[in-house]
């Protein structure tokens, strides 16, 4: 096999499909109605990004941050449709990494997986840091004390040395994952309602201090600011692909999937826009401090009401909600690395499971150690910005993957086809690229360095250990 051929070897889609889903767990019933799909998707999307993202996004866009939310939602919409098509074609694959491997080849799949490391591991560190700040806010408002700055902040910000709360939340999540805990459907429902309740609470309280004067100038940074903020807030839409992957369970995927994606993104956008609008209406946008606390919603309530209990309530909700996100995202990262390890692209230790619980123990420990160190000791700053590019890049690849698979395998049975092909996936790529371009040069440099590091790893390890490399036909050998 020539070098180029090796770099673009793909996993055979037929074989992937044939390998998976023999057990009862693989046979899903088509039972989800449009309403259920929509709620499922809203629950997965309405995340905690909104709790931490305004402090970064508002300084970029000003009150026009509400347009950034809409821009991000449109981007998410097209990518979600592409996700839905790939999930319906290759149902036994899970992440954008696997889709890229099946359609675009090993090298791009690797880069995609490497970007997912940003999307998951790096962004969860940032979220864990935000958790610590909301916790501190909560302690401050209820018990009247804050943790000393040295243990409550990461180095480089406000006199921090080690960010202990961030490590604590990662440790709790790790402990649960090692015990094979999975978030139950009930816990998830409670969590979704907690999040919605807290956000509505925020809107109502912030609306009491609404001052329309705060909205002018509306877009002080112009479109450049809006798109830059759009790529930041895109992070708060992660999870929108959940409905897409439920396509196998939808009663009528052709009609319901696009509708569910559209409606749920509409609902989520509405909530975000309401939060954004009331936030900038209650507190002049210049006061959103890019280097300050990530507990920006709590800060808005402080400024807006001058009372302490509303931000205490909000902080408590954020503490609960962010903790559950840390758990799910850590879980996601371990499973993506598991898949990559099974393909031979990362060392085999990532696919070793505990025989009793079937939990990839070493994998989980390595990931949580990595995340803890990032969250506790590294000033994340620019690296977190780079997660936006990485995430958008991974989603762009999913859109491209749809086009590639339609051309290379038009015969594959697809339980869902994205409407208006090829316009939707092309628009999907376009919007992703547009948002990526909006990010600053420094962020691009960080992203380039990150990707370069990934390529070095690939050529030193992954390329030679790839399971595809070991089976000369270029298709994945049967799992023994």
């Amino acid at each position: 096999m020539s070098m180029t051929a090796a770099l673009f070897r793909t996993k055979s889609v037929d074989q992937i499909v044939a390998e998976g889903g023999k057990g009862e767990g693989g046979e899903l019933k088509r039972s989800m109605s449009l309403l259920q799909l929509t709620l499922f998707s809203v629950g997965a999307t309405l995340g905690t990004g909104i709790f931490v993202v305004l402090g970064e996004a508002v300084p970029l866009a000003g009150p026009a941050v509400v347009l950034s939310f809409i821009l991000a939602a449109v981007t998410a919409l097209f990518s979600a449709l592409s996700y839905a098509e790939l999930a319906g074609t290759i149902p036994v694959s899970g992440s954008s990494y696997s889709y890229a491997y099946a359609t675009l080849g090993e090298l791009i799949a690797w880069v995609c997986g490497w970007c997912l490391l940003l999307e998951y591991a790096v962004s969860v560190s940032a979220v864990a840091v935000g958790w610590g700040q909301y916790l501190n806010e909560f302690f401050d408002k209820t018990l009247g004390f804050t943790m000393p700055a040295a243990i409550a902040n990461s180095p480089g910000t406000a006199g921090g040395v080690v960010n202990v709360p961030a490590v604590a939340v990662v440790m709790i999540a790790t402990y649960l994952l090692l015990n094979g805990t999975s978030e139950s459907a009930t816990a998830n429902t409670i969590m979704v309602f907690t999040k919605i309740g807290i956000l509505i609470f925020f809107c109502v309280v912030a609306a009491t201090a609404f001052d329309s004067g705060n909205l002018t100038p509306f877009a002080p940074m112009g479109w450049a600011g809006i798109s830059a903020a759009g790529s930041k807030v895109f992070f708060s839409y992660i999870g929108f692909d959940a409905a897409s992957t439920a396509g196998e369970e939808a009663k009528n995927p052709k009609r319901d999937l696009p509708l569910a994606i559209l409606i749920s993104l509409g609902i989520v956008t509405l909530v975000y826009v309401a939060v954004g609008l009331t936030a900038v209406g209650a507190m002049p946008w210049q006061q959103f401090d890019i280097n300050g606390s990530e507990a920006s919603l709590a800060k808005v309530l402080d400024v807006a009401t001058g009372m302490s209990w509303p931000s205490a309530v909000l902080s408590f909700g954020a503490v609960v909600a962010i903790a559950s996100v840390v758990l799910t995202v850590l879980y996601g990262q371990t499973r993506i690395l598991f898949a990559m390890s099974r393909d031979g692209l990362v060392p085999p230790i990532f696919q070793k499971v505990n025989p009793r619980t079937s939990v990839p123990v070493a994998n989980t420990l390595i990931v949580s150690a990595f995340v803890s160190i990032l969250a506790a000791l590294i000033p994340l700053g620019r690296l977190v910005d780079a997660t936006s590019i990485g995430t958008l890049f991974a989603f762009a690849l999913v859109n491209v993957g749809v086009i590639v698979l339609r051309r290379s395998r038009p015969d594959m049975p697809r339980s869902f086809r994205t409407p208006l092909y090829p316009i939707t996936p092309i628009l999907g790529v376009g919007f992703c690229v547009y948002l990526m371009v909006g990010l600053g040069a420094v962020t691009w440099t960080v992203f380039a360095l990150w990707t370069l590091g990934g390529l070095v790893c690939y050529f030193l390890y992954g390329r030679r250990h790839s399971r595809l490399a070991q089976s000369p036909s270029g298709t994945r050998e049967q799992v023994s």
Partner: protein, 299 residues
Amino acid sequence: MIGGSVLVGYEPDRRGADALALAATVVSGTGGDLTVASVRPPAWPVPGPGKVDAEWEAYLDSQAQAALDGAAKILDGWGLSAEYLVTANRGSGRGLAHLVGKARADLIVIGSAPGGPRHGIALGSTADQLLHGSPVPVMLAPKGYAQRPPEVFDRISVAYLRRPGCEQAVDLAARIAVRRNTLLRLLTVAVGHKAKGKAVQLVEEQARRVVERYRSDLALAAKETEDGGILTTDRITTEVVQGPDAQSAIGLAEWSPGELLVLASSTAGPLRKVFMGDMSLKILRAVPCPAVVLPRTAR
């Protein structure tokens, strides 16, 4: 009739082998159907960011399938055929209990949990979940059963105490004994404390009285069983074993190579957790033979 359709919880280890061997002994007498099941952990039940665990799930399914292929090889060697199922559940016991309907099983057979002493039955989480939630009786293989499986059950014992709920166990044991054409033994374990000095006589007197009472209870139970028209008295034996603790008392009883013990679960427990009598648990841990437990949740 119990044993007409047997569900076996299988894992590719000592436990699984013991359970298979025991299930084979059961169906050798009843000619019943076998279903072998493997329970794997489920995927994340709620949406996270993407369906990231698809590959992990596929892997678990392939592992479970491989385990069942191993079981099929063993059963083929014995000339037995079976149905094979994989299910996803966070608890292996709960997973098996869910499969009862699908397999139309009237008995679940599992092996002993790892750890603990080398012989006897060890209850782990699988057994615990089943004993709290199985709709059918649960049969447990002692450790190492696969190394010395008897051809047939040659005697059915029932751990007897004159308590509500125990008649069901006696009834079940008697039916099995009739079906298998074996003897039925009503066994009562009497446990007394060791005493020193002057107290010895007193304690001995007490113990004698307890044993006497148990004897008459047993005689009565034996008569009831006979009156029930199930067995004749000459096929029923009674025995009281006495020791300082359950383990030594069980050790003093005589056990035939093809013995099967039937135990009831106490109906009187105020909490679900303690539904199984303390004595039943101690007996289970000590017995050298397989045991059938009637969970309170059994139909």
